[in-house]
């Protein structure tokens, strides 16, 4: 499913004296299959935008449009329930949203909600698949209380509860905040493997430029409710526009810039693997 926003605007408290413009004409195209990164300072409109993708916030009158696959969200007849089944949304600290008595019930909730006609055998099958996809042992974990799990496990359970209905798009707000280094790495690996499953497109919002440059195929930069920069990580972080927006560059890009200043041109991607390969080539290391 392609996601396309055109001149999308949004005002909180519209018509009141305290109204504030959160989106000021967002134009953005996310193609199917991308691992897409959204960055921008606090208050730049990132969260308001992603809440449009599954219709949590409705497009206001004469405020542009957003189309997600076959769903035109400005259309009065848009079936939001079907849309939300196709677009899974994972908020910040999703582990705080676990509520059921057992892991099984928590994960199964989405099925009851979106596919009430599902038989209990099939529900069991789907829950098992979802838990295994996020790397948890079904038999070991299904009857546990979500509250006795570790932080990383809870977050996996929360994701399982979203992917259990097999969404094609997965949107995650700050997916690795608060995880320890190992948990963070494992979680990103998980997102990449999901990106190759029925989840075709992954969109992450993050403040961590190193996470974005290492993982994303494309990046959009939000400022004052608009997309001001867009492209591959190399395009977005390569120039100085990103600094003018008030954001920083990933470590690899800073090192490339520093070397460039002393006359060493490094033609490299921004992932650590690509960067270290290029450096090894230039400074005569082993291939």
């Amino acid at each position: 499913m392609q996601i396309k926003a055109e001149e999308l605007k949004f005002v909180y408290g519209k018509g009141s004296s305290v109204s504030s413009h959160a989106l000021n004409g967002v134009n953005l195209l996310v193609e199917e299959g991308e691992f897409y990164g959204i960055i921008g300072k606090t208050g730049s409109g990132k969260s308001t935008f992603i809440q449009h993708i599954n219709g949590l916030l409705k497009v206001q009158k004469e405020s542009g449009k957003i189309v997600v696959g076959e769903f035109d969200l400005t259309d009065k007849k848009c079936n939001f329930k079907n849309l939300r089944k196709k677009v899974g949304m994972v908020f910040q600290y999703p582990e705080y949203q676990l509520f059921a008595e057992t892991v099984f019930d928590d994960v199964a909730f989405g099925i009851k909600n979106f596919m009430p006609e599902t038989s209990s055998e099939h529900t069991t099958e789907l829950v098992q698949q979802a838990l295994e996809l996020v790397g948890l042992d079904y038999d070991q974990i299904k009857d546990k209380s979500p509250f006795e799990l570790s932080g990383g496990q809870k977050r996996r359970v929360a994701i399982a509860g979203v992917i259990v209905t097999k969404p094609e798009v997965l949107v995650l707000d700050e997916p690795v905040a608060g995880l320890d280094p190992k948990g963070k790495r494992e979680f990103l690996t998980l997102l990449h493997s999901l990106n190759k499953s029925f989840v075709k497109t992954v969109i992450i919002v993050s403040h961590d430029m190193n996470v974005i440059s290492e993982n994303c195929t494309k990046v959009a930069v939000f400022k004052d409710g608009k997309v001001v920069l867009e492209g591959s990580p190399e395009q977005v972080y390569g120039g100085n526009d990103i600094i003018e927006v008030g954001l920083s560059k990933p470590v690899t890009q800073n090192l490339i810039d520093d070397l460039n200043k002393v006359g060493v041109k490094i033609d490299s991607g921004l992932s650590v693997e690509s960067f270290t390969d290029s450096i090894a080539r230039v400074f005569g290391g082993r291939k």
Binding site: T42, D180, P181, T276, F283
Partner: protein
């Protein structure tokens, strides 16, 4: 005398699984300590033991010589050990900034004048003087966390404990908070114990303590700790990104020293290579 001393401390929430096992450590007055460890390693439990929110099942914690398990000491200990938690939204109690900072000193039963002085001191220390009349919910995450720190500082604690206090902040907010904390440590001599997942926040500490499965597994300067890559890895931890890149470069045959901890050091090392070649 160390300002903080834990002696053979064990603790369990449910009387079954021990979250901390026989932990002993000492913190010197004025030290900047970073505590790292994987999720569930027992780091946050330590923070709660330090200001007597919980007391050890076995062993003792002493703050400035006072035993935390003795009820009569606990009020004094909480005045002395300020804890700032992860979520800024959970820590602010009043609808304007100045009232929030006043909450602690008011509970100490201080004079109006002294309360006023302490508010001025605390807001100035975190660089938020001009926000006295602001409403906390209108502030950014970094500003809120600085107000939470001010609320703690108004008690004039000797120890400031940060329990993942920057993890919900954006990079700018994180920088603001860290700068304030470093300044308090350097200029006001406040002892800092920072619990964090960000390896980049660890490299400036005087000493790093690694907690693994409820035990103190390592303790040393950042250089000493990050030299032991394999051991760290076995505890679910990693090197700071700059050290990790340096490590990869060495693996690929590039001549980079082993001591790299920061981006700046790595950049200098790479630029030196250019001069050599």
């Amino acid at each position: 005398m160390p300002i903080l001393k834990a002696e053979n401390v064990s603790f369990s929430y449910d009387k079954k699984t021990e979250v901390l096992k026989d932990v002993s450590l000492e913190v010197k007055r004025g030290e900047y300590i970073a505590i790292i460890g994987h999720n569930g390693s027992g780091k946050s439990t330590l923070a709660r033991l330090f200001n007597a929110l919980i007391v050890p099942d076995f062993g003792k914690v002493y703050i400035d010589g006072l035993d935390t398990s003795i009820k009569d000491n606990q009020f004094k200990i909480r005045e002395n050990v300020g804890v700032v938690f992860q979520n800024p939204d959970n820590q602010l109690v009043a609808s304007i900034v100045v009232d929030d900072v006043a909450f602690g000193p008011e509970n100490l039963g201080l004079s109006r004048e002294e309360i006023g002085n302490r508010i001025d001191f605390a807001l100035k220390a975190v660089g938020m003087e001009s926000f006295r009349k602001a409403s906390p919910e209108r502030l950014s995450g970094g500003q809120k966390q600085r107000i939470a720190i001010a609320g703690v500082l108004a008690l004039k604690p000797q120890i400031l404990v940060l329990d993942e206090s920057t993890s919900m902040l954006d990079p700018e907010g994180r920088r603001e908070v860290l700068n304030v904390v470093k300044k308090l440590n350097k200029e006001n001599g406040v002892t800092v114990i920072a619990i964090t997942h960000y390896m980049e926040e660890v490299v400036d500490a005087d000493r790093v303590i690694v907690v693994n499965d409820g035990e103190v597994a390592m303790s040393g300067t950042p250089e000493e700790i990050f030299k032991q890559k394999q051991t760290l890895k076995s505890y679910g931890l990693e090197l700071p990104l700059a050290s990790y890149i340096a490590e990869k470069l060495r693996e690929k045959g590039v001549d980079i020293p082993q001591t790299i901890l920061t981006e700046k050091q790595l950049s200098e090392a790479l630029c030196k290579l250019k001069q050599k070649s």
